[in-house]
């Protein structure tokens, strides 16, 4: 790793200084995408006011879509960043645990009947029970990682394999449908408010995590544990507990996402809900320039990374890419982004930049 750092610090130029800043990567990616859309189809940035089926005015347009559907990813990115920082690994079971959380919520709301006319329990109770389920799943992962010292990716492979099956089992493989329109508020619109509710929820989560990072030492602790566990222990920290805690926090994020997901369609499809979202969430963390091997993190870069990924998805849809072919394009873009941000390529860029500069200067002199 020593080689890396020397290379990275070998840049030295002004460009290098800018490039070296962590949040540069997601911002650059975002700018590239914006530029692409401006050239290809500037209507991307139009926001129109439509009237939805309930007769309320709502905002619509690709940008609103990005913000709306990016919410889930942004919320997950919060938890995933913490898990990554503290444990140096990723939780790949989030998609499956979202299914569990969603399924549990629906089960509580529906009671024994899978198509009830009225809600069998208040939504808040359902959410809390779902939250508890998600936190339990997180705690399970956390115990394996923190106390049994199993690599996070492997430990969470367990729930990744079993999660959707458990979700189906919770509802006896039936498809509950909620007819109460109130439940659809969380994934849709509150009456009279033209902005999609998930955006508010995501905003709420961001504010909460900002407050948590400001008024607790969670940030310092997770980073210290992620960088040097043994040293953290000798400084009085309990590394195992902190790792465990990050997984439980991720569980809360998962529950919130689960609520939004099931609310969007007032039902659940066990095998499709939040499919591949774990990959997107991990990508968000990586795009934010955070080392997937743990340690230092930048929460805002991760969240920005989440929206960049959603931006990319929406852009691709806009370009008439079929939804099942989407991953191929996404992969290409991701690889380009990551390759550009590697130290080797960055050094090369700054060298090219320097030689260009010196050429210009010699021209000026001439």
């Amino acid at each position: 790793m020593q080689k890396n750092t020397t290379k990275k610090s070998g840049i030295g130029s002004v460009l290098g200084g800018l490039v070296r800043n962590q949040i540069f990567i997601p911002i650059a990616a975002l700018l590239l995408l914006v530029l692409f859309n401006l050239i290809v189809d500037p209507t991307f940035f139009n926001i129109s006011v439509d009237v939805n089926s309930d007769g309320y005015r709502i905002l619509s347009g690709p940008i609103v879509t990005v913000l709306n559907f990016g919410s889930e990813l942004a919320i997950l990115a919060i938890g995933m960043t913490l898990v990554t920082a503290a444990s140096g690994g990723q939780d790949i079971s989030v998609g499956a645990t979202i299914a569990i959380a969603g399924s549990v919520m629906l089960r509580v709301l529906c009671g024994t009947n899978s198509r009830p006319d009225t809600l069998q329990a208040p939504i808040i109770v359902a959410f809390l029970v779902g939250c508890l389920a998600a936190m339990l799943a997180g705690a399970f992962n956390g115990v394996l990682v923190a106390y049994f010292k199993i690599q996070p990716m492997v430990a969470t492979l367990i729930l990744f394999t079993a999660g959707r099956s458990i979700a189906a089992w919770v509802n006896n493989n039936e498809l509950p449908v909620i007819s109460d329109p109130k439940f659809a508020y969380f994934g849709g619109f509150l009456p009279g408010i033209p902005i999609p509710t998930p955006i508010f929820i995501a905003l709420g989560c961001m504010i909460i995590i900002a407050l948590v990072l400001r008024f607790t030492t969670l940030g310092l602790y997770t980073q210290a544990v992620g960088i040097n566990e043994s040293s953290s222990r000798l400084n009085g920290l309990n590394p195992a507990f902190i790792k465990f805690l990050t997984f439980v926090i991720l569980g809360v994020c998962v529950a919130v996402v689960g609520l939004i997901k099931v609310s969007r369609i007032s039902s659940i499809n066990y095998s499709v809900v939040a499919k591949d979202i774990e990959m997107d969430a991990i990508l968000a963390v990586a795009l934010g320039g955070n080392a997937l091997s743990g340690g230092k993190f930048n929460m805002w870069a991760s969240i920005l990374g989440a929206y960049v990924i959603q931006f990319l998805t929406t852009t691709l849809y806009k370009c008439n890419v079929r939804s099942d072919a989407l991953p191929a394009y996404k992969a290409v873009v991701v690889i380009i982004l990551v390759v550009i941000s590697t130290p080797a390529v960055r050094t090369w860029f700054s060298k090219v930049g320097k030689s260009l500069k010196s050429k210009l200067q010699t021209k000026e002199v001439a």
Binding site: G10, R214, I227, L234, N235
Partner: protein, 503 residues
């Protein structure tokens, strides 16, 4: 005798990292059959020079000649191929492979692996060098010292022209060091040029022929060992005349408050799961005492037990007369105990975090998770200790891993001083750091004690302990075997107590 045959010559070597010029026009000559010490403070450029020579770093300017011919070394493989072998301070072997594999991997021709021959060859070498390991044993199951010896065995077997030993002795005990020296002399007689990097002056004078001194990335000079008295060597390394480093004890009056005779901490039958026998221990207010003994005698394990760093499995601990329960480091910290661990890299620094975060970490943990320091407070603390301990760092935001060893150690020290402990445990605070910082730390210890802090000081260098401690607990084979104070505090007495019997 083979004289003045330059087997290796480095000319005008330059290497810079962003913001630092690590090496400036450094020349270095090594003759065949010579043991050549490379000396300098931390950050003087020794490691960089070695890494340039072994191809880990690429040099910016300069040439390397081997047997008079220019060689290009771009990778450790290149270095191996031209006949330069290296044994590093940190073990650079693979823990998951067997001892024999570690000795033979990455060299030799052919694509296939001959296990039988390899194991036989390895066993032969291990035996001839008296290394207590089996060829088929997994490396991770050997002790650190044996692992180091395996690394040396590997280098020895490669028929190298130049052997680089980069602080190989820091984890070896005296006996092992002697064995190593025997090996070095043997190689020397076979005409191998050896570059020996170490901080131990005694060792330099024991085996070396020549000394090259570096300071701040430049060459100070090359000297033969006879024309270079110790004091002069130290002053060359520090770049200033050293008045006297022998007696610093007199400078500080011992603590003489009215509670001077009060016992701050007392342990009875303390035992941890790290394999030490139960031991008793006490320390008074303002006292400096120490644990001494050979490496592996259990001195670190004792203080780790006091701090709760290993799992405590028996015994009573009294703090200021009251029984306290110390099971975890945090318990000890809450009782005003601070512990600077033996291995700075593994247990001390939090590498990627800034100097500031590293300094406030322990106090922050003590304060609790819901009362974080504001940025301004943190900077205030950090700047205070950077100034107080004269830590050389670009800013308080610099990651601690980019500091030199001595400065890293000062940061960790600052971290614990910030918690204002009543009782400070320093386990090898001076290992692997330069002479100047060593003396700074020793002075600081005495100063703190004179202000009423109790300190336990552990060091491999006995003279250092004699300079600082007023009472020594002697250990052998994981047991406390004696206690020395006052008149008994002499080198000889310590040695005989460690050795046991009436020598």
């Amino acid at each position: 005798m083979l004289v003045s045959e330059n087997v290796l010559e480095m000319k005008n070597i330059c290497k810079s990292f962003p913001g630092v010029r690590a090496l400036q026009n450094v020349d270095f000559k090594l003759r065949a059959g010579e043991i050549h010490a490379l000396m300098g403070e931390n950050g003087a450029g020794k490691s960089t020079l070695i890494k340039v020579l072994t191809g880990v770093y690429s040099k910016d300017e300069g040439d390397i000649y081997l047997d008079g011919k220019v060689v290009a070394i771009h990778s450790p493989q290149d270095a191996q191929r031209v006949g330069i072998s290296t044994v590093y301070q940190e073990i650079t072997l693979c823990p998951n492979l067997s001892v024999a594999e570690n000795m033979y991997i990455g060299r030799g021709t052919g694509k296939l692996q001959n296990w039988k021959k390899q194991n036989e060859d390895a066993d032969k070498i291990l035996k001839s060098l008296d290394i207590p390991a089996k060829a088929t044993q997994q490396l991770a199951s050997c002790s650190i010292a044996v692992q180091q010896m395996v690394a040396i065995a590997r280098a020895v077997d490669m028929d190298c022209k130049v052997l680089i030993l980069d602080e190989p002795t820091s984890s070896l005990d005296d006996l092992e060091v002697q064995k190593l020296f025997g090996l070095m002399r043997d190689l020397k007689s076979r005409g191998v040029g050896i570059i020996f990097v170490t901080h131990f002056l005694d060792q330099v004078y024991e085996v070396c022929d020549k000394i090259t001194v570096l300071r701040d990335g430049t060459l100070v000079g090359e000297y033969s060992i006879q024309e270079m008295p110790r004091v002069m060597l130290v002053s060359k390394m520090l770049g200033k005349d050293l008045d006297d480093m022998s007696d610093i004890k007199g400078e500080q009056a011992p603590y003489n408050g009215k509670d001077a005779s009060e016992v701050v901490l007392e342990a009875e039958g303390l035992q941890s799961d790290a394999g030490i026998k139960p031991f008793d221990f006490y320390i008074k207010k303002g006292e400096v005492n120490g644990f001494t003994g050979l490496l592996g005698s259990g001195r670190s394990e004792c203080v780790r037990a006091i701090f709760g760093a290993d799992r405590v499995i028996g015994g009573k601990v009294k703090k200021n007369g009251k029984i306290v329960n110390i099971n975890k480091p945090i318990d000890a910290m809450k009782n005003g105990i601070a512990y600077l661990p033996e291995d700075r890299k593994i247990d001390g620094i939090v590498g990627d975090l800034s100097v500031r975060d590293n300094i406030i970490l322990a106090l922050q943990v003590l304060k609790g998770p819901f009362k974080p320091f504001s940025k301004a407070e943190a900077y205030k603390f950090a700047d205070e200790y950077i100034k107080l301990l004269s830590i050389k760092t670009a800013s308080a935001d610099t990651p601690i891993k980019s500091l030199s060893g001595g400065n890293q150690q000062k940061v960790i020290l600052g971290r614990w001083l910030l918690t204002h402990p009543e009782y400070l445990i320093l386990d090898e605070p001076t290992r692997g750091i330069d002479v100047g910082t060593k003396i700074d730390i020793q002075k600081l210890v005495l100063e703190l004690a004179s202000e009423g802090m109790s300190v336990t000081f552990i060091s491999s260098e006995t003279d250092e302990m004699l300079r600082t401690c007023s009472r020594l607990v002697v250990m052998r084979d994981r047991k406390v075997v004696g206690e020395l104070s006052g008149e008994d505090l002499t080198q000889n007495k310590i040695m005989s107590t460690i050795a046991g019997g009436d020598k």
